[in-house]
């Protein structure tokens, strides 16, 4: 970790020194960039915002800024929210017993791992990258956890090791992308196969988990109201979402993530730590995949090499449906959570329907992803 953070700083001492004063300003511009549309970012970066200019625009433009926010920034998230409400309403009308708090809460219970996965994916997609390895890393995490528990390790160590392995894998992918300038999808595709391969090396059979701590986590229910219960996994997922929200919207790292997605060279010219952040997002995604893997282990109480095949699509779909642009630079972590809930709702409806086979889930998710991608293309084209 230290090697990564030090390297760009060490490699560019001159730039770090001269741009030291300017980087606060750049962070301010980054805030503007995340708030406004692409063009604003390009203007700020390309035209070179005058030193005093950014502060002044920030003050008297608040009313206009709010107007722009409502009209463009949250538009896609609002579409997702509307879709969620409409789907839930349709389900409530069609099926008896659908309209209940527990069905809504079960969306969180059954998809806690996917929420965490989508959070990590949001970071990567915001920078304009993609991480195809998440499903394999989840599978690898379940395998490592199951096999270590089987050989008698204690749960805290097992979880720690799983998290370290996931983060390291993500970090390595990030470093490969950074040092060798390889397209993210190829690097993460290779990582996907590699992680799957490690699963096979550990075992080709399913390993079940009988550890008391893991089974306790699987069985525990926390009451949140009259007759309403959630699992500890939901709390973990919500904590991850909260941390991601704070990091993305209230730290310089978060603003750099948005700035990179809006245009790598511009962000670099503003003196933002582009390369370090690019590596960081893959490490974050790896960490999130590992956490999701642990939650998935709580959920299934087993480790299996072929588990979570295609989960990367679910995560990408959740992020895209949640309103994050695949080209990067625009989107919200809370939107991704909404995206996960939409996917969960589709699954719930298919199971309520009863006659539809579960394979329809994949097909519906694929189609929904397609619709939202096309919607994105249309929206961005219109904005230009």
């Amino acid at each position: 970790m230290t090697a990564t953070t030090n390297r760009p700083a060490g490699a560019e001492p001159g730039r770090g020194g001269t741009a030291g004063g300017g980087s606060d300003r750049a962070a301010g511009a980054g805030l503007l960039m995340s708030g406004r549309r692409r063009e604003a970012g390009r203007r700020a970066a390309g035209g070179g915002t005058p030193p005093g200019g950014s502060g002044a625009t920030g003050q008297h433009g608040i009313a206009e800024w709010l107007g722009a926010v409502v009209s463009s920034r949250y538009a896609s998230v609002l579409v997702t929210l509307a879709l969620l409400i409409v789907t839930f309403a349709v389900g409530s009308i069609r099926y008896e017993g659908f309209f209940s708090g527990q069905v809504a809460l079960n969306l969180f219970v059954d998809n806690a791992f996917l929420i965490v996965l989508a959070v990590g994916m949001t970071f990567v997609i915001l920078t304009g990258g993609i991480d195809l390895s998440v499903g394999s890393v989840v599978a690898l995490s379940t395998m490592i956890a199951a096999s270590l528990l089987q050989s008698g390790w204690s749960p805290p160590w097992v979880i720690l090791i799983v998290l370290i392995v996931g983060t390291t894998l993500g970090l390595l992918v990030g470093l490969v992308i950074y040092y060798f300038d390889i397209q993210p999808f190829i690097a993460t595709l290779a990582a996907m196969f590699l992680a799957r391969g490690f699963c096979y090396v550990i075992s080709t059979n399913s390993i079940s988990i009988v550890d008391p701590f893991f089974t306790a986590m699987a069985d525990a229910r926390i009451p949140v109201g009259p007759g309403l219960k959630i699992t500890p996994s939901v709390i973990v997922a919500l904590i991850v979402v909260a941390i991601a929200f704070v990091v993305l919207h209230y730290t310089r790292t978060g603003r750099t993530v948005y700035a990179i997605g809006n245009g790598g060279p511009s962000a670099m010219l503003m003196g933002l730590p582009v390369r370090r952040t690019k590596v960081l997002v893959y490490a974050i995604s790896g960490l999130c995949s590992a956490i999701a893997g642990v939650l998935f282990t709580f959920y299934t109480l087993s480790g299996y090499s072929l588990t979570a095949v295609g989960m990367e699509l679910d995560a990408i779909a959740a992020v895209v449906i949640g309103g994050t642009l695949l080209t990067g630079g625009s989107g919200f972590v809370l939107g991704s959570v909404l995206g996960v809930l939409v996917l969960g709702l589709i699954q719930t409806i298919i199971s309520f329907e009863g006659t539809l086979s579960s394979w329809w889930t994949r097909i519906v998710i694929g189609s929904l992803l397609l619709v939202f991608i096309i919607l994105q293309r249309v929206l961005t084209l219109r904005r230009r």
Partner: protein
Amino acid sequence: MIAARLRDVFRSRLIWPVIALVALLVTNVIKSPGFLSIRVQDGHLFGSLIDILRNGAPIVLVALGMTLVIATRGIDLSVGAVVAISGAFALSIVGDAPDPNDLGVVLGAAAASIVFAIVLGSWNGLLVSVFGIQPIIATLILMTAGRGIAMLITEGQILTVSSAPYKVIGGGYWFALPASIIIAGVMFALVAILTRKTALGMLIESVGINPEASRLAGVSARVIVWTVYTFSAVCAAIAGLMISSNVTAADANSAGLWIEMDAILAVVLGGTSLAGGRYSLTGTLIGAFVIQTLTTTVYSIGIAPEITLVFKALVVIAVCLLQSPVMNTRITKMRMRRRRTPAVAPTRATVS
């Protein structure tokens, strides 16, 4: 003179895959001296080499389609799903027919699968060329939704059908050679003639190098991109027929699993850059056989087959790193330095 010739050989992009192939074969010969022997039995050729040819045919086909897709700076992740769909579709038709052993039924089923694949491939092509979705995402949709479609066709079961004519596609013999390798060979020859004897190959490369510039130069990039994705799906479908015919079963979950990885690996081993542009069909052919030989070797020298995937992934990573722009500039610099040192600089008009 000989030294110059040798240097030319070593400069060639194909030298490394060929060396890898030879090394793998030598390993096998050391392990089992009879490895290279081919015997004739019942008028058919038998032997480990023939097995490699037969089992390698699906990879050759899928990699062939993948080469053209990658040459246009794309990628097709859906080939594995198409393999599963086409096998399931063809076998379900053959299985539902009154007489599964009827040649007409089998040919009809094969044709129907290929038509289905054309639909799936043009779907991918539509998403990439008309809607402008990144190839990785566009084909990812079919990669996962496709397994769902295959599941729907097989109704979640593993279809098993015994049909003699169908068995020929993947396990039979024509003119003493495995039918599958003849089919793959014919497809390969067709593509080679179509793209190398006409301007099509150059147009594909130009689209891969710079889609915008080639569009401005009058190349119908959209049609070309659309065509290569359709072609890739057709190749995958034929591979799917072979795989399902070889085991006389269609398994929606595991048929063609990770074949996209093998195909991508074959293409990059063959020296085609994942960044698009120049491609080498011969390289892909050699790459595909390197992979099949590798798989055979893993089994024959007694390494646990589970490790193959890790090994292949590491090879992909290594080859990608070697191809990366950073390494390229580094290697070029090294060559320049070496060329400057000798007193008599070797005269080379062209630098490949």
